[in-house]
């Protein structure tokens, strides 16, 4: 032992007068750090109740509970996370994964109580003193546990596609589809928004597990036209996607297409387990009018229920608007055939070139068939009725598209104006642009709509692609007059449209007459919506059928009219779009089944 070792420790006495380290009042002096992971906060304005927080919580601390005042809306389940502080470990994974950024943490950290039951609360709904604290943990922009960016879809370059009608979208390859499917959070918010309530998370999950056949079966549970819907569906589901709030929604439509593309037509029956169905055995025969999406959907579900179904179609081929309204570059005919051929292979008969009402009276069908499902669609063009619209060079978009598909010659002007901002308007614009390209080697077509670009009803990509194909889109103008010179069209006069809908959301456009525009043109196409043609229903029958507002037929939940054997659905009731038609067909098929079963008893 050295003396130094005894003396040296004593030198510490020099610190005796230093300021103590002790915190005077720890309860008030020490707020948590700026990004401290304290107690939870939830911003109800952002929260959509997707349940990702519940899903990622490794302690099973989060429950989703309904909260008063939070309604169920499209893309919002109305449920809110309820956190059990008897489980939570403050890891903030729930905050990191929250797709909307609603869930955050304050830097408050003190909560004592003598009752263990109170440590369970719904941030945002239950009053807490930290709900509005600004400091605390929130998801850093630099990290992401989920991927907000969609896998880009490859398309043909504009210069490769603007002359022909080959399909533009290439479709995902396996790797891309897997990556896209991987982004799904499996919250299931999309299912409610889809008119057909397809089980989207389930088929995406099956795809992710590389189980294409299972995914395909899930598709057919609610939608017998996956190839078609996988291409041209209006994909309302994608607007409800949880990722849509902060990034790009899952490409649900393209994934559906990918799944359907993977199964070759000859394997359909094997995969779906319907090999035995070719010969229906249940006695009832059912007639379906119109081989469009709704008719086909109803026919499919009736067929797998074992009914003998016959479809009557006025046109020479099946598909309705899908074939005669949508150009081939969006929906190739072989894909339509793939879906429809499968339905036919289940024993569904289609009689073409037969117009009910003209060739066979509707009442006659009832003699032979136990029930009739009429899904005749909207095929009549609607006119703007502005001066000059009665000119022979003014056409309806639907007529042109139908004629073009039928192989007839359609007029192609050198300078064309299309009136309308919906998908049909884009379809005719791009079809005519291609024909102009083929005929004259250049494009000169303008599409104009009342709605400004942000509220144009057409799909965003349609507008973008039209522009890529050198068509001019001029949104926000109201057509006034088609100028006619010497019986020929000279052009279209327009005025600025200020708003389309009034405060109540009703169609009531307002214009600014001072701001004018004039498009030179030698051909005008009107595409401002379609009307239904109910002339096949005889007057006698019409009296029996209860009609609803605006000339629509009144139907019950199961699309049954007041004439009990007649079911009506599709675009003439709801829509217009394919997926609503499919949904209607599905519901009607089940309703017909129920109706016939009830009759039996």
């Amino acid at each position: 032992m050295k003396l130094k070792d005894i003396i040296q420790p004593l030198t510490i006495w020099k610190r005796v007068a230093e300021e103590p380290w002790t915190i005077k009042d720890p309860l008030t002096e020490r707020p948590g750090a700026d990004n401290y992971r304290g107690f939870h906060q939830n911003d109800f304005a952002k929260c959509i109740g997707c349940g990702s927080c519940e899903e990622i919580c490794q302690n099973a601390a989060i429950d989703l509970v309904p909260v008063e005042g939070q309604e169920v809306k499209d893309g919002n389940s109305g449920l809110r996370p309820r956190i059990d502080y008897g489980r939570c470990c403050w890891c903030a994974l729930c905050v990191d994964i929250c797709p909307t950024g609603a869930l955050t943490m304050s830097n408050e950290y003190t909560w004592i109580d003598d009752d263990p039951e109170v440590f369970r609360f719904t941030p945002g709904a239950d009053k807490t003193k930290w709900q509005d604290d600004e400091k605390g943990y929130s998801r850093s922009e630099d990290i992401a546990l989920i991927n907000f960016d969609r896998i880009e879809m490859e398309e043909k370059a504009p210069e490769d596609r603007d002359k022909s009608f080959i399909e533009i979208v290439k479709g995902y390859n396996k790797e891309q589809a897997m990556l896209e499917a991987d982004r799904c959070l499996e919250c299931g918010l999309c299912t409610a928004t889809c008119p057909a309530h397809m089980d989207i998370p389930a088929y995406i999950a099956a795809l992710r597990e590389d189980n294409i056949e299972e995914a395909f079966r899930i598709l057919y549970e609610t939608n017998p036209l996956p190839e078609i819907c996988g291409r041209i569906c209006t994909h309302k589901c994608e607007t409800a996607c949880a990722l849509h709030n902060n990034g790009e929604a899952i490409a649900i439509r393209w994934l559906k297409r990918y799944i359907a593309d993977q199964i070759p037509a000859e394997r359909y029956k094997e995969v779906l387990g319907t090999e035995h169905l070719a010969d229906p055995k249940i006695g009832h025969k059912i007639a379906v009018i119109g081989a469009g999406p709704s008719g086909l959907s109803a026919a499919y579900y009736l067929a797998i229920l074992g009914y003998q179904v016959k479809i009557f179609e006025a046109l020479p081929d099946s598909g309705g608007m899908m074939r005669y309204g949508i150009p081939e570059y969006r929906l190739p005919y072989d894909q339509i055939n793939k879906d429809i051929d499968y339905i036919k292979s289940l024993g569904v008969e289609i009689q073409f070139n037969t117009r009910i009402g003209q060739d066979i009276p509707l009442e006659d069908l009832h003699q032979e068939y136990s029930a009739v499902y009429a899904a005749t669609g909207l095929h009549l063009g609607r006119s703007t009725r502005i001066p000059g619209s009665d000119n022979s060079e003014v056409y309806f978009a639907t007529d042109l598209l139908r004629k073009f598909t039928l192989g007839q010659d359609i007029p192609v002007g050198k300078k064309i104006v299309v009136i309308g901002g919906g998908n049909v308007a884009m379809d005719i614009t791009r079809t005519l642009a291609r024909l102009q390209n083929q005929k004259y080697g250049k494009v000169d077509i303008t599409a104009t709509s009342l709605e400004t670009e942000d509220i144009m009803p057409a799909d965003r990509e349609e507008i973008v692609e039209s522009r890529e194909e050198k068509a001019i889109i001029e949104p926000g103008w109201g057509p006034q007059e088609i100028e006619i010179k010497d019986g020929k069209i000279a052009g279209l006069h327009l005025i600025k449209c200020l708003s389309v809908f009034d405060e109540n959301g009703a169609f009531n456009p307002k214009f600014d007459a001072n701001e004018k525009k004039f498009f030179k043109a030698d051909m005008v196409v009107e595409s401002i919506g379609q009307g239904m043609d109910l002339s096949y229903i005889s007057d006698e029958l019409k009296e029996k059928i209860k009609m609803g507002p605006r000339g629509r037929i009144d139907v019950n939940e199961g699309f049954q009219t007041s004439v009990d054997w007649l079911f009506v659905g599709g675009d003439i009731i709801k829509g217009p779009d394919v997926i609503n038609g499919v949904a209607n067909g599905h519901i009607a098929a089940k309703a017909i089944d129920k109706y016939l079963n009830a009759q039996k008893k």
């Binding site: 103590p20 380290w21 002790t22 915190i23 720890p26 309860l27 020490r30 490794q58 302690n59 099973a60 601390a61 059990d84 502080y85 008897g86 489980r87 939570c88 470990c89 403050w90 950290y109 003190t110 909560w111 004592i112 109580d113 003598d114 009752d115 263990p116 440590f119």
Partner: protein, 213 residues
């Protein structure tokens, strides 16, 4: 009441100490815990005032929570100034801090240490694990709720609760003591059989006396 009946009742009131081998049974008492009844009102108030000012905690770090006891008891937070001190043995302590999860092996020691503490005694439970299992809710070796085995007076949330939370917990306990509402110990005496049954349900080899005062 006949003398015989009294004897039977007395016998029923005795604990069997079944976990102990025959020769050791005599070494341990077989009395049940008894309630501590408040004394005369003013005296009790004074006692509560005094009790609230000398919280001596048992230095038994039963789980992660022990890690924050060290900062609490050292220079930075210096809990000694609030009358909080650590004691090495249960006999000298009157506050038991359950530091989070309690494993099967620990809960046995917790019960025994708790029973050895002199009344009036208080329990502070830290963290999620004591409330509903916390992150070990699915573990085969940790209990989910401490209040099934010993009575708890104050819960402090957090994982881990910071020393500041702990100080807040102590303040809450003090208030409760001063108001004379800390009756965890009496609860234990009143529901002794229930607690014992819960304890024995998970502690399979009960090789200790039933009550260990």
């Amino acid at each position: 009441m006949k003398e015989k009946d009294i004897k039977i009742i007395e016998k029923e009131m005795k604990l069997a100490n079944e976990g102990l081998p025959e020769m050791e049974r005599d070494l341990f008492a077989d009395d049940r815990p008894s309630r501590i009844e408040p004394l005369n009102k003013y005296l009790e108030q004074f006692l509560n005032w005094a009790r609230a000012r000398s919280l001596w905690i048992l230095a038994y770090g039963t789980g992660c929570g022990a890690i924050e006891l060290r900062p609490l008891m050292t220079a930075r937070f210096d809990a000694f100034r609030y009358g909080i001190a650590g004691r090495p043995t249960p006999r000298q302590a009157n506050v038991f801090i359950i530091g989070g999860y309690a494993s099967l092996k620990t809960i046995k020691r917790i019960v025994r240490s708790y029973e050895q503490m002199q009344g009036p005694k208080y329990v502070i439970a830290l963290g999620s694990c004591t409330i509903n299992g916390g992150m070990y809710y699915d573990s085969y070796n940790t209990i989910n709720r401490i209040d099934y085995y010993i009575p708890v007076d104050i819960y402090v949330t957090g994982c881990m609760p910071r020393p500041e939370s702990l100080i807040a917990g102590f303040n809450g306990l003090k208030k409760k003591i001063q108001a004379g509402q800390c009756d965890g110990m009496n609860k234990y005496a009143d529901n002794f059989d229930w607690y014992k049954a819960n304890q024995k349900q998970i502690i399979k080899d009960w090789n200790m006396p039933d009550y260990n005062w």
